[in-house]
């Protein structure tokens, strides 16, 4: 085997965390929009789940529970649950695309092999796919917000900011989802995605306040990204806004950036050998 050394400039650029790209990620988003015109039904089904929960739990259980005590007083149960379900909508939309669809494109359709033969680089693929996934998450959130408003569970004007907030949630989940997917070998590995999503959905202070848990469990819950999404949306939709929401935004953005860079590096390693 011949021993080889890359030029210094190349070695330095490999140490930098940002993968190569041509700034053309939007072309991949455009490709996805076109693809979904053929299969829009897949978009609709993913949006239904949180809506069903809103009416079964929020309205149904809300009839039994009536109100929940929060930091700034009593709120109706449906109004308490709705922000959490909005955060879940953003998560679902982002995760569907960044995991299942990305896996299909990466391992079977070989879409990224074809894309990387063009000027686009791994960063463009990562940014494009994650952007598309978070758009889908934001779309679900927007639809959910509309339903929640019509159902009368939205009371504060702060709720207008719930949608931009959902973009942060979508970003975090899309980036981490795609990063994790680059390590998957078979469809069976997706059980791990469900194993992560299901408990998060149930226990991220979604259906009852964080204070319900013992302190150690509270600490654990606060590590999960959905908790921060839920807390952020709840603060906005209930109009209980304070500086603490920046902590949630910061957490979600940091997770998204790490996932994005990690995804680009992984694509480089998998496809540009």
């Amino acid at each position: 085997m011949s021993s080889t050394t890359a030029p210094l400039a190349v070695r330095v650029s490999r140490l930098l965390p940002v993968p190569a790209g041509a700034g053309m990620a939007r072309m991949l988003v455009e490709r996805n929009v076109r693809s979904y015109k053929h299969g829009w039904i897949a978009l609709v089904t993913g949006f239904l789940e949180p809506v069903l929960y809103l009416f079964s739990l929020g309205v149904g259980i809300g009839a039994l529970v009536q109100t929940v005590t929060t930091d700034s007083g009593e709120v109706p149960y449906a109004a308490f649950v709705a922000p959490a379900l909005l955060a879940t909508s953003a998560m679902n939309g982002a995760v569907y695309d960044s995991t299942f669809n990305v896996f299909w494109k990466l391992r079977y359709a070989k879409l990224y092999d074809a894309v990387l033969a063009t000027p686009l680089g791994p960063r463009d693929v990562a940014v494009g796919e994650i952007a598309w996934s978070l758009i889908r998450g934001a779309l679900y959130s927007a639809l959910f917000l509309l339903v929640a408003t019509l159902a009368g569970t939205v009371t504060s004007w702060w709720a207008l900011l719930a949608l931009p907030a959902a973009v942060f949630i979508g970003f975090a989940f899309a980036a981490v989802g795609m990063f994790v997917t680059t390590y998957m070998k078979s469809w069976a590995d997706f059980e791990w995605v469900n194993l992560a999503i299901q408990p998060m959905f149930l226990f991220s202070a979604t259906f009852f306040p964080l204070e319900t848990y013992p302190p150690t469990v509270q600490w654990l819950v606060q590590l999960t990204p959905l908790y921060h999404g839920v807390a952020l949306e709840r603060a906005l939709m209930l109009g209980q806004v304070d500086a603490g929401i920046w902590w949630h935004v910061g957490y979600l953005v940091a997770l998204g950036v790490v996932g994005l860079i990690g995804t680009g590096r992984r694509l480089e390693k998998l496809l540009l050998t």
Binding site: P7, V10, A22, M24, L28, R31, S35, H38, A109, L120
Partner: protein, 314 residues
């Protein structure tokens, strides 16, 4: 050879180009150069290092060593600029299954930064070129292998590339589909597009390539035009002899000296001679009676056999 060509004419140059994967050396220090307007081929069996070389040229695989310049640019730093001027036809089609035939062209053109009106205009021409106009609105999946291949070539042309890379363009196609594809590649060549292709079919190399290199075990073992290679490494004609035996080697001694040299294959003997008919007559006069004897012209397959001791498709 290429060393005396002025640099301005060179589209691509490799010196000591190497690619390793762990302990495995796929490409082992190869030198070659391709001129503008040329059809250049890599001929060799599976695993010879052809595809690894093509991926490095396509700026999607960083060289492990040596020097590579494409359009005078370094692929490790100028990847996007190089890829913007390339068309790539990979070994597997990699068409976008979720889109229609025409959408495949549009979307691919957009990856090159072309405007929507540009890609629509070009797609019309390219669908005509690929004889797929009637299938424009269809999904990709139901197309035949030959159609998919033509669509892949059309797609690679959407950006009007200066250099087209084709990795085994006709592998797995039936003879009719191959000839249609060769015809399309000829047209491109006439239009001045530079072609670089890999193949393990000698007839394809003979049909399409002005110049080619023969690769084996990651190295280049010969270089020249098909005609030059045959002249240098083979005789004008070949006499093929089949005998009623399980081991043709036992007849090799009996025909020794008939031609310039004899190769033993599992199912026949190849006698290399300037005049095949004269060689056949000599065999007959020695009282040797083969089951069949056939005189043909030398091909690149013979060159490869002579250089490596193996046939191309194994």
């Amino acid at each position: 050879m290429t060393g005396d060509t002025p640099d301005g004419d060179l589209l691509l140059r490799a010196r000591g180009l190497t690619k390793t994967f762990g302990d495995f050396t796929a490409v082992d220090g190869v030198d070659f150069a391709v001129r503008r307007g040329e059809a250049f081929g890599f001929l060799g069996p599976n695993g010879a290092g052809k595809s690894s070389t093509m991926r490095m040229i396509g700026a999607v695989s960083p060289p492990s060593g040596g020097e590579l310049r494409i359009f005078g640019l370094d692929p490790s730093t100028d990847g996007p600029r190089i890829r913007a001027r390339l068309g790539v036809v990979p070994q597997q089609d990699q068409l976008d299954q979720e889109l229609t035939v025409e959408e495949n062209l549009w979307v691919y053109g957009r990856y090159f930064g072309l405007s929507r009106s540009q890609v629509r205009e070009r797609a019309v021409e390219l669908l005509e070129f690929a004889q797929l106009t009637e299938r424009a609105k269809d999904k990709v999946e139901p197309l035949s292998g030959g159609m998919k291949r033509r669509l892949t070539i059309a797609r690679s042309l959407i950006s009007a590339p200066e250099l087209l890379l084709l990795d085994e363009p006709t592998t797995g196609l039936d003879p009719q589909a191959r000839h249609l594809l060769w015809d399309r590649l000829f047209r491109l060549k006439r239009q001045g597009v530079t072609l670089i292709l890999t193949t393990h079919y000698m007839d394809e190399a003979e049909q399409l390539c002005d110049r080619l290199v023969v690769m084996d075990h990651g190295r280049i073992v010969a270089e020249g035009s098909p005609r030059q290679l045959i002249e240098q490494h083979s005789t004008r004609e070949v006499l093929e002899l089949r005998f009623d035996t399980d081991d043709h080697a036992e007849y090799a001694g009996k025909v020794a000296g008939v031609g310039e040299r004899v190769e033993v294959l599992p199912d026949r003997l190849l006698v290399y001679a300037h005049d095949g008919d004269a060689a056949a007559a000599e065999v007959h006069s020695r009282g040797i009676e083969p089951l069949s004897s056939l005189v043909r012209r030398s091909t690149l397959e013979d060159v490869f056999l002579h250089l490596t001791g193996r046939t191309l498709v194994d």
